[in-house]
């Protein structure tokens, strides 16, 4: 399998959209799209666990030659049963690291958070991105060291975003 050394964000998003997957961009990429200068080396997406969406997601993951980033080095591919039952899928793909999440924070699902998103046009694609306030909440709930480390930047960005400014947004 050809593994990309650096993640190609737009390529991964295009693949998911091409297969009609219902998903939200969350995590570090969501924070960056919302204006927070956060470096992340993977794309995190929260997917809808509706049965029809699992098939679309699996199609996209197969196109990307996705397999789990297994510490033991085993080659394990995602399948419908895993996508149905597991919460966390840390995958390597032809276009870099892709984290496919069934829930985030304290157990929030796609359905819980789809109303807290911003729609952004990124060139020819349009994606739903978790709004910054919700990114902060989910990172506070996750409460891992790596999440706590970025919270000051995220909170400060939210404060500066909410001030009137000449910010350029391309939202719906």
């Amino acid at each position: 399998m050809a593994e990309s050394r650096s993640v190609k964000f737009l390529g991964l998003l295009r693949a998911l959209l091409r297969h009609g997957v219902d998903f939200l961009v969350v995590g570090g990429v969501a924070a960056q799209l919302e204006g927070a200068p956060i470096l992340t080396l993977d794309l995190d997406v929260l997917y809808d666990k509706a049965p029809e969406n699992l098939g679309r997601l699996l199609g996209a993951l197969r196109e990307l030659n996705a397999c789990y980033r297994d510490p033991a080095g085993r080659h394990i591919e995602p399948d419908i049963a895993k996508l149905e039952t597991l919460r966390l899928h840390l995958l390597r793909t032809d276009l870099g690291a892709l984290d496919v999440l069934g829930t985030i924070g304290s157990g929030f699902t796609y359905q819980d958070l789809v109303g807290r998103t911003v729609s952004y046009a990124l060139g020819e694609v349009r994606v739903h991105v978790l709004e910054l306030a919700a990114v902060i909440e989910t990172k506070e709930q996750a409460n891992r060291e790596k999440d706590r480390a970025v919270l000051p930047v995220l909170r400060q960005t939210l404060r500066m975003k909410t001030r009137p400014s000449g910010e350029k947004e391309d939202e719906e």
């Binding site: 050394r5 650096s6 993640v7 190609k8 964000f9 737009l10 990429v29 960056q32 799209l33 204006g35 927070a36 200068p37 470096l39 992340t40 080396l41 952004y120 046009a121 990124l122 060139g123 991105v129 000051p152 930047v153 400060q156 960005t157 500066m160 975003k161 400014s165 000449g166 910010e167 350029k168 947004e169 391309d170």
Partner: protein, 63 residues
């Protein structure tokens, strides 16, 4: 007792906004990313990631 010819000058307030928040966050970086469009922000992130990958590969040429 000798008096100074001129009074002690008032400190001149710094007209520029602070570059850093009290907890050490670089405000100028946030202002910059907020001035970009979402696509430009994603491209910036992609540049950072690609640059890191280049560094890991040791292909960055000395300038």
């Amino acid at each position: 007792m000798a008096q100074p010819l001129f009074g002690v000058p008032e400190p001149i307030p710094d007209p520029s906004p602070p570059a850093e928040s009290p907890d050490g966050v670089d405000l100028t970086l946030i202002q910059w990313t907020l001035s970009l469009t979402p696509l430009e922000r994603l491209e910036l992130l992609q540049d950072w990631v690609d640059g890191l990958a280049e560094l890991q590969r040791g292909r960055v040429e000395e300038r």
